[in-house]
Symmetry: C2
Subunit: 600 residues, 2 copies
């Protein structure tokens, strides 16, 4: 997943591009580069590593009013100077940046570039070389660009410079996110509106298989048959301060702390004038009338879906399956007669989930997207959207989007229950409010969490999180948090499954975190803790007030047990944060990762 | 999960008990002990560690014609001399061995043993002390034993000596497996017929909440109301040589090698006289007519169920859900109207699965058990049984039972498809035969597997197995194999999920095994391999002939892609075996584990 920016206007492009790339660094930070165009030609600056490393190599003396830029998460070819974008064609005429995966780049290389010596192992360089081959064969740039696009299989968001026409940026998109931003005397290009909020909040959405000719005073959108398309612009709801760290050392800590506020925003947003929880009527009906619901997500969103399934089944009495998007799309199970698909994606751009959305829409099924980004691809292409109202989530390790997804799923399940004439037995508005307060209390106990992280995780190379039912689902999320940012090999397990193999890994001192917030499995999970303790594990029981025992390491404030996940995850988020901090890891941008995964 | 033996007859009991315990060591090997009774009294010998360690402390000069014995897998209290069984009551009159978990032992301690000083932290000692309290209170032994049994909550298989009546062994069972074996001048007790094949193959099954008074010439079964129960005996189908290692250094290697023979036995057993695959008519109908099938299993059986789901959905067009037993039993999802439950359990004694069987039978649903042990609890208590015909599986790490479960599920799915008028498009008998030959060819390439294990796993502390669809399901099994016996922290992942967090764990040299046997995901899994290789992973691609690339590390013989799991798992079994061997681990009896998990 890479980030792309472009600017063409009256100001010096370099600083606008670099600031834009910094906002997109969450999308990938293996290497970065920019190309700027002025009378002398096209100047490329690129470097392995972060934008800060790129800034070191950009020549401040090169003034240019147009430029394109890229920050990379390597899919093909290791992170290196050579593989960094922009890539240039053999004769240097064309310069290109690309986000996505061109699946047939090997065939294109064999078919069109027999006698072209490639400088890198990237799929991207193949694209820019093929464009030049078609121009060498007599086509105009736009025509050569269009012809190349029609040959590409896979996902792309592309910005292209032609050295012979430096007042234009050629842009195109398929599957990967890309927007055009509008200004009075300039126009911009960006993978995410956040990158160009610095200069404009007016954007135009691009659809798959469209190309755009961008100059400083004109934006022409065309389909791949060359027909011009007109489309209204929209104002991005974001405000710049939303995406600043403020006094926090890391976005992750800021976003962990924002969870109580997000809870209250969700309660307030989804209450009607009588204080009753409500969602748009057609969404409530779609959930209530489905004969089976399929929740689709990846990583943390998949984990939130596991919790959401319990709510919809327990309250709305509709059976639910939860699937990892990349597995569902290639191995679709037998579907029920009248399914509803719920897509969970913080960014609304997750490629694996989008692949499933395209499939199920083609089968004529209904889809609801629950996302944090209005106007995102998954939101636009679904029948319904519910927003998380969590505000931008910048840190790669998701925190507030996870608890927001669970809260919105709880609201949805309770409204659907109501529609099915089922009383869930408690006042969800009140209980969500109590959970928000409990989260706040936990966020104030950071010292305690830091102490637990120090006590259990200072030297350990692995850690286990065990729980049953809802606790198990939070354990796999807690393990993912720790794994992602501290590189400790953490795994979440159903307590009952340890005996069937994994307990062999337990040695003297192995840290085992156990969640005990569900009464009906309290005895059994404590039995599992005894089994690992009997084999030398360093156990840390985190229990819910009312189910706590004397030697539990931490007791969570009392909340409705169904909402315990909203509360029990907060210590695990903070423990992971401090474990990473103590190890000197880059908490907001862990190695190998990117925020939104927009490639399959 | 512990193993229990008892003998009362004319011969010296010690050697019979010790040999019996050796056969049960697969059930637990933290500590072991025996108690033998003669004119001088009851002599207890116990020791931490293996039966070999116990042999060191048994006094050869003590002659006794009756005895009870136990080999332990610690659930309460660490493995130690103190916690080893047998346990004796305060005044030494009663001596007891127990397999199971007494959930309310803390309450019993508080209620009945206020002024008794306990010597260990085990739930077992509480039972023997309570019995003595009731006898001190004036009850006869049998009455005190019965009263104690009625108070116990949880699972137990118990053998008890009363020093004042040394010609009797008092036995009782609930949920944990226990059999009585019959002989002319003796009788025996055993958790598994295998233990006492040395002296008899005639056994009587015991049901839950029954107690038995065993003397050398009489076996009296009673329920907990004291009513005598008569029950016919049966002949155990096992033959002693089945359970010998023969020339193999380890059972695991022997059982891995037996897989081709087991395949052919399954093909032959499930063919009718016209060579057509068939299962008992009522089973085929139950599968074909179910509106949804729920496959329940733990550990390796759960992994086999993930593969079986694909067959039943693809061929028989019946939707399937696969669940971990311990999660299902405490968090049952919404069930369909006309479900069929399929229980996978090599031993037929898995407590977690049995808990679910009891629940669903109480709801009036139908259940099919697929197991390797005829007459086992799960087989007896289900409506239908299909046998694996794999022969005893002694090694803790399951190999041939896994592939046998997949093969039997394939047979079942194809017969159900036939019943639903669906042609699966190929001759399963022929394709299973080809798979058996391919397995055989792989078993002959042990040197190659040892080389791969040496190349990738000699120093590594962790390893990843990545695949998509059927390959992903084999990867989680491959990871479990490696984890269980080599203590390398191995995890199996869906290729598409790595980018969503786990890829952060990939460092220079991290071993990543990738399976590529499914054409429709071949491009994507190879893309995932590139992503981890770009971050320094030491990748090992194992592909299916016909989908192979030049730089794949190992190419599997060509088989029908649907049956690829039967073939692709063999290299992973052997790689795990050699990795464990190179590290000097106890392959057949890995630490912390036991073969069949008969406690929840």
């Amino acid at each position: 997943m890479c980030g792309i920016v472009g600017y063409i206007g009256q100001l010096d492009a370099k600083e606008i591009l670099l600031k834009g790339l910094e906002k997109l660094e969450y999308r990938g930070y293996d290497s970065a580069g920019i190309a700027v165009a002025n009378e002398q030609g096209i100047h490329v600056f690129k470097e392995k590593g972060r934008i800060a490393d790129l800034r070191e190599v950009v020549d401040a003396n090169v003034e240019a009013k147009a430029g394109i830029g890229h920050t990379r998460w390597a899919t093909h070819g290791e992170p290196s100077y050579l593989n960094a974008h922009p890539h240039q064609s053999a004769l240097g005429r064309f310069t290109l940046v690309h986000n996505g995966v061109i699946e047939n780049y090997v065939q294109l290389k064999q078919e069109y570039l027999q006698d072209v010596e490639l400088k890198s192992d990237t799929d991207t360089e193949v694209v820019v070389q093929v464009i030049e081959q078609f121009v060498n064969g007599g086509l105009e740039t736009e025509e050569a660009f269009r012809k190349t696009l029609t040959l590409l299989k896979g996902s792309y968001a592309i910005a292209l410079f032609d050295n012979d026409n430096r007042e234009t940026i050629f842009v195109a998109k398929n599957k990967s996110p890309l927007l055009v931003g509008l200004g009075d005397t300039f126009n911009v290009v960006a993978s995410d509106a956040m990158a160009m909020l610095q200069v404009t909040n007016e954007y135009v959405e691009l659809m798959d298989k469209e190309m755009v000719i961008v100059t400083d005073d004109q934006v022409v959108i065309k389909n791949l048959d060359g027909d011009v398309i007109t489309r209204a612009s929209y104002i991005a709801e974001l405000d710049a301060s939303d995406i600043e760290k403020g006094t926090y050392p890391h976005y992750m800590l800021k976003e962990t702390d924002e969870q109580p506020v997000v809870m209250r925003k969700i309660i307030q947003t989804y209450q009607d004038e009588n204080g009753k929880l409500s969602v748009p009527g057609d969404i409530a009906a779609a959930v209530a009338e489905a004969d089976r619901i399929y929740i689709i997500g990846c990583g943390t969103s998949y984990h939130a879906g596991l919790v959401g399934k319990q709510y919809i089944e327990m309250w709305a009495n509709v059976p639910v399956e939860v699937h990892v998007a990349s597995e569902f799309s290639y191995n679709m199970p037998l579907l029920s007669k009248k399914p509803l698909f719920i897509f969970l994606s913080q960014s609304g751009e997750t490629a694996d989930s989008r692949a499933v959305l395209v499939q199920v829409k083609a089968l004529g099924h209904k889809a609801l997207t629950i996302t944090n980004v209005p106007g995102s691809t998954l939101s636009r292409e679904a029948d319904y959207t519910l927003l998380l109202h969590a505000g931008p989530e910048i840190a790669v390790a998701s925190t507030k989007a996870y608890t927001a997804q669970i809260a919105v799923l709880a609201v949805l399940a309770s409204v659907a229950a109501d529609k099915n004439g089922i009383n869930i037995g408690f006042d969800l508005v009140k209980e969500l409010g109590i959970a928000a307060n409990a989260m706040e209390a936990l966020c104030d106990q950071k010292d305690e969490m830091e102490m637990i992280a120090r006590e259990y995780l200072t030297v350990s190379r692995n850690a286990f999180f065990i729980g049953r039912g809802l606790d198990y689902f939070v354990c796999v999320e807690g393990a993912l948090k720790l794994k992602e940012i501290s590189y400790i090999q953490a795994e979440g397990f159903a307590g009952g499954e340890l005996k069937h193999g994994t307990i062999a890994l337990i040695e003297q001192g192995t840290p085992v975190f156990a969640l005990a917030t569900q009464e009906h499995v309290n005895l059994s999970i404590r039995g599992n803790v005894k089994e690992v303790a009997a084999r030398g594990a360093n156990t840390c029981i985190i229990s819910l007030k009312g189910l706590d025992d004397a030697d539990d390491r931490f007791v969570l404030p009392e909340v409705n047990p169904a909402l315990a996940p909203l509360v029990s995850v907060v210590p695990l988020q903070l423990i992971a944060y401090y474990a990473a901090l103590h190890r000197g890891c880059d908490v907001d941008k862990p190695r190998n990762l990117a925020k939104s995964v927009t490639v399959e």
